[in-house]
Symmetry: C2
Subunit: 139 residues, 2 copies
Amino acid sequence: MAKIVRNQPIRVPRIPSEVRRLVEGRNFGFVATLMPDGSPQVSPVWIDIEDDYILVNTVKGRVKDRNTDRDPRVSIAIADSANPYKYCEIRGRVVEKTTIGAVEHIDKMAKKYLGVTRFEGPREGRLIWRIKPEKIFIR
Amino acid sequence: MAKIVRNQPIRVPRIPSEVRRLVEGRNFGFVATLMPDGSPQVSPVWIDIEDDYILVNTVKGRVKDRNTDRDPRVSIAIADSANPYKYCEIRGRVVEKTTIGAVEHIDKMAKKYLGVTRFEGPREGRLIWRIKPEKIFIR
């Protein structure tokens, strides 16, 4: 496990437990992607963790999905909903996008965030992004 | 006033009242800037509004400040703390950075967000960014 130094990046093979708890909690991620002209774009997302990857469930063709098809570099800030002054930033890349299990996964996210058993939004075109963290900051 | 079409950008001379209310509320902004290699970086910020500009109070030399010295393009997502499914995204540019009034302004932000009369964090090197919105999305 990497040593945590406040305001210093952690270069990750492993996600530290403090960050894992933030991702596992009912906290939103704010994910930034790059528009075609290189300018930034940000949107809130539901987030999940699997091994040392961050998962985001989205829909094929959305702006952030088209952006990461072109340039896979992303950054996600996650603040603790109980104390927004505690947060982390994860910079990395979308290394995989899969439709497999993506509908079941959005239901799992709806359970986590809304407490319901079935996601009421779009089920067509769902994708799970697998994000490989490269640098993590905890503040 | 621009007509609000959900999921369609509003090209702004004026900030719509719905967005104004989000900025005036005790809601965090998540601001994305561009690192030297063009990759995105995101962090939570306190936000303010003056006329049709968004204000962010930061400290000279921080990563996001160095980033916007190099490339002024930013995006800020603001979610309603009472209902995070209601949010807006403001894409634009940092058009001015000033030290004038920046210490008084961070005290004003501490009052807004923490209910205290004096900000307890760094007072040296404070800067107010003035961000000119170019496109606004409401979702």
